[in-house]
């Protein structure tokens, strides 16, 4: 199956806009006072190799349509993977049938027309990659080869995979909003297994970008996967203790995600956040600035408008350590008596202002403590901020790595951890929309032997 190319996209965009247009008319015809819908299609290729041989070649092709209808303040929604006119009509009918049973919710309504995005900037998100199956296999093999050649202790592999996707999404509502644009995303992943005596360890690395030319080289991805795997060999446990903890950049991103989830409107109005009533309060030390840049060119999470059709905009979430805003869509904003922040669908391209220290500098600053490189499980209580997760990483003394550690937990409370943030490094070295360096937290409980 051919990958969609840019030549196809204009035509496809027009066809999807027509589907939304027809759907909105149909919703009106069926009596809805308002309606909103989005429709998307994507096509892609995913190739996986293992031990130098092809393992899977997958051709993906997805369609989906979702509609929400409003009868005053009652709403109902439906979705379908079938975009034929009959199926779309059925979806509208199903949504209307649901709305017969839902109850009046004063906040159930579309965003105000004046907030809808009108100027849609081109964020440079679409760069189709005309890679064929053979070339994709070659790249994945090169990536895995680099990993396997890196160290004799790399004895086995989970393989390498390359994927490329082109998607088109169109959204519209009965207040006159109707927009769509194509995006691409390409990735290359590698995971290998190292062995030392009886012990096996596995680790991985990846690169992902909107344009293939922005991907890291196959070789560097493979070598990084291997380097990470080998560095874990010989891991031992630690005794139970308290110590400072350095979250390596890619796991520190998870702490940022916990922050976002705690200040998201739905967590606030459901009273299920440990940061309830903290708007305008200091939640981090004064040096911390956390901001969102939703319109970055080629950004992996960039979008010109949010899920409500509201224009996205850059903003500080935390400035001088003080919480500046909740993260709101039209509904949760209404529930809290605040205007939407254009965040229906979440935060896009989250970043923290990075400090002066590189990773070695952070380790020296920590002196003795734990460098965490992997977290396991979901032990975060969003309501209380209590934090307890499985961890692996390295024990640090005198600012130097001593040995790898595993089968331990780290525990604390996110509120205290945020307040106890000592430094953010300048060592952001992982792919993705979120940018942060490593975080040094003053003190946590480590449980082990």
């Amino acid at each position: 199956m051919p990958i969609l190319t840019t030549e196809d996209t204009a035509e496809r965009l027009a066809r999807l806009q027509q589907i939304i247009d027809d759907l909105l008319k149909e919703a009106k015809r069926q009596g809805a006072s308002d309606a909103e819908a989005s429709v998307g299609g994507s096509a892609g290729l995913e190739v996986a190799v293992r031990l130098g041989e092809v393992e899977t070649v997958e051709h993906t092709r997805d369609n989906g349509l979702g509609v929400t209808v409003y009868f005053g303040h009652r709403k109902g929604s439906a979705s379908t993977s079938d975009l034929s006119p009959g199926a779309v009509r059925d979806a509208v009918r199903a949504a209307c049938a649901i709305a017969e049973h839902t109850q009046d919710d004063p906040c159930a309504h579309l965003a105000e027309a004046e907030l809808m995005a009108t100027e849609i900037p081109d964020l440079d998100l679409c760069h189709p990659w005309l890679v064929d199956v053979e070339q994709a296999i070659e790249l994945a093999v090169a990536c895995e080869d680099a990993a396997r050649a890196f160290d004799p202790r790399i004895v086995n592999s989970e393989g390498a995979s390359l994927s490329t996707h082109l998607g088109i999404n169109v959204a519209g509502n009965s207040r006159g909003f109707l927009c769509g644009y194509p995006t691409t995303r390409h990735s290359l992943n590698c995971a290998v297994i190292g062995q030392d005596g009886d012990m096996m360890q596995r680790d991985y690395w990846w690169t992902t970008a909107r344009a293939a030319s922005d991907l890291d080289s196959a070789r560097s991805v493979g070598e990084r996967a291997a380097e990470r795997t080998v560095s874990r060999l010989g891991a031992c446990r630690l005794g139970t203790r308290e110590a400072p903890v350095l979250f390596r950049a890619e796991v520190a991103a998870g702490l940022l995600r916990s922050l976002v989830s705690a200040i998201t409107g739905s967590s606030i109005y459901r009273r299920s956040s440990f940061l309830l009533d903290h708007l305008g309060e200091r939640i981090f030390p004064a040096f911390v600035r956390i901001h969102e840049e939703p319109r970055l060119l080629r950004g992996l999470s960039s979008a010109p408008y949010d899920g409500d059709g509201v224009a996205t905009r850059a903003k500080d979430l935390v400035r001088d350590g003080v919480l500046q805003t909740y993260i709101l869509d039209t509904y949760s904003g209404c529930r809290l008596g605040l205007p939407t922040t254009g965040n229906a669908g979440g935060v896009r391209n989250l970043r923290i202002e990075m400090g002066e220290l590189d990773r070695a500098g952070l380790m020296r600053e920590m002196g003795t403590g734990l460098l965490v490189t992997e977290l396991m499980g979901h032990g975060v209580n969003a309501v209380t901020g209590d934090y307890s997760r499985g961890a692996a990483g390295f024990w640090i003394e005198n600012g130097e790595i001593q040995y790898p550690v595993e089968e331990i937990t780290i525990a604390g409370n996110l509120k205290k951890m945020f307040a106890g943030l000592v430094a953010v490094g300048n060592d952001c070295d992982f792919p993705g929309g979120t940018r942060t360096g490593s975080w040094l937290i003053d003190r946590m409980t480590i449980a082990g032997e």
């Binding site: 199956m1 092809v54 899977t56 051709h59 979705s79 993977s81 049973h101 499980g377 032990g379 449980a447």
Partner: protein, 481 residues
């Protein structure tokens, strides 16, 4: 009409105008002289969900998904393509794309086989139609009232109800022709309680392969509401959890997530074929204490993890994984079984037509022992009694696994003491079960809430176990006293 194949033909093939001859041609398209195995998975899935929040029925959704996944296998290579359009040209194009995995001679000639699976662990019913919509709304409202009535400290209640009917039809070049009509229902309640400035959350729920009447039997739905409130109130009194390695008693039922993480994933056939599991090549070795027998059983009537047949059309089984402490077997799908010279154990599962099948668990549980659970708690001088859990995770290569307690108590001098805050427990899969010293006589399966994720694919599963004493396990709390 109760014949699943007739139902599936009627629901999926007829509307798309696909004939017997078309199916033969599609399977033929998928094969050539270099293809070892080929199959087509048709799916038509309907889902309806309702959400109540703030005492009002706020939202509902109805969705339909349909499509077909076409797979061609040559040696260890798999070609895969899927389509959500079911007309012949789209499927033929997908077949050619999948078959391109191997260059071989002429197209195969395949006749679709005759039906085989004749089993009914659940009825081929439509749970969405099993209750009028207004009764679903009323049920959630009763759940909301019950939670609020249970205690004045209840501040927020969220309740949801989901009903799914999945129709699948599998045909393969080995003669498989099988269909399954799978109902699945789920009810969930989550509450926030507040007292003197402290807030806690509690959730409960359950589900089954049944109709929605399941939640009306024995006051079940209201029981979930009361249980969610009880959990939240318990946590209001919780003190810091201990940190360190100690004796842990795990309650019966859902704590069986231990088995799912610690050993279940490590015994899936794909990891063992590739040698990437900490259990690879260890069949016949002791991996658990005497008395420990663990099975994966897809044949339990009505359970969330049960299936009449797996997603490759293989009848599900009760597979012994560990017998009296000795590792006996792996869970296999067709591909991994063929490559390792075994037989599929009916564990080939996939999230949908758009995903490739792989070995997955169904209902994984430990058989009961002979100890009274109270006697097990009384045997512990100082330790942790953990009875409710959130999810878990495992690194199958290193064998390290975690699971997070959401309701736990200190044990002091053989007695259950104060509740402690949630904490993650961490251990090493290949040896944690060697430290099982007492096994209860109270085997219980979970309430039907489990969802397992692997390589980005989610499938419903079940777990279970009797009360267990584990002599040493690391508890990730914050208190070192």
């Amino acid at each position: 009409m109760n014949d699943p194949i007739a139902i599936a033909r009627d629901r999926i093939l007829a509307p798309a105008g696909l004939t017997e001859l078309d199916l033969d041609r599609l399977l033929g398209h998928l094969t050539n002289s270099a293809i070892d195995a080929a199959d087509i998975y048709f799916q038509y899935s309907r889902l309806q969900s309702w959400v109540l929040e703030d005492g009002i029925l706020k939202d509902g959704n109805f969705s339909i998904e349909q499509g077909a996944g076409l797979r061609a296998v040559s040696g260890e290579k798999t070609g895969f393509a899927y389509s959500d359009e079911l007309h012949f040209p789209a499927l033929a194009q997908a077949a050619s794309a999948a078959r391109a995995i191997a260059r071989g001679g002429q197209e195969g000639k395949v006749r679709v086989g005759t039906a085989m699976v004749e089993r009914q662990l659940y009825e081929p019913l439509d749970p969405i139609a099993s209750l009028p919509d207004q009764d679903k709304v009323a049920l959630l409202q009763r759940v909301d009232l019950e939670a609020r009535r249970a205690d004045p400290r209840v501040r927020e209640v969220t309740a949801s109800l989901v009903a799914v009917q999945d129709t699948v039809l599998v045909l393969a070049d080995d003669g498989t022709l099988a269909a399954d009509i799978r109902p699945l229902v789920r009810l969930n309640v989550s509450v926030i309680v507040e007292d003197k400035g402290r807030r806690e959350q509690g959730s409960s729920g359950g589900g089954a392969r049944a109709d929605l009447g399941y939640f009306l039997v024995e006051d079940r739905a209201l029981g979930f509401a009361r249980e969610a409130v009880r959990l939240a109130l318990t946590n209001l009194d919780a003190v810091e959890a201990p940190a360190g390695t100690m004796t842990v008693v795990l309650g019966a039922g859902w704590p069986g997530v231990l088995l799912h993480e610690a050993i279940g994933h490590g015994l899936e056939g794909d990891f063992n074929r590739k040698g990437s599991s900490a259990f690879s090549g260890r069949i016949g070795e002791r991996v658990a204490a005497r008395g420990v027998t663990v099975v994966d059983d897809g044949t339990l009537p009505g359970r969330r993890g049960s299936l009449n047949m797996d997603d490759e059309g293989t009848i599900t089984q009760n597979t012994v994984l560990i017998e009296d402490g000795i590792l006996r077997g792996y869970m296999q799908d067709k591909l991994n079984a063929r490559l390792t010279g075994g037989l599929s154990t009916g564990n080939g599962r996939r999230e949908s037509y758009a995903h490739l099948p792989m070995p997955r668990m169904t209902n994984t549980y430990m058989r009961p022992g002979d100890r009274d659970p109270e006697e097990i708690i009384a045997s512990v001088e100082k330790g942790l009694y953990a009875v409710n859990f959130g999810g878990g995770q495992v690194d199958i290569t290193s064998g390290k696994f975690v699971f997070s307690a959401s309701e736990a108590y200190l044990i002091e001098n053989g007695r259950i003491g104060r509740p402690v805050k949630g904490a993650t427990l961490i251990g090493n899969g290949p040896d944690v079960l060697t430290r099982v010293s007492l096994i209860g006589n109270d085997l219980k399966l979970d309430e039907g809430v489990g969802t397992c994720g692997k390589e980005g694919q989610s499938v419903p599963v079940g777990v279970g176990q009797p009360t267990l004493r584990i002599d040493s396990l690391t508890v990730g709390g914050t208190s070192q006293s």
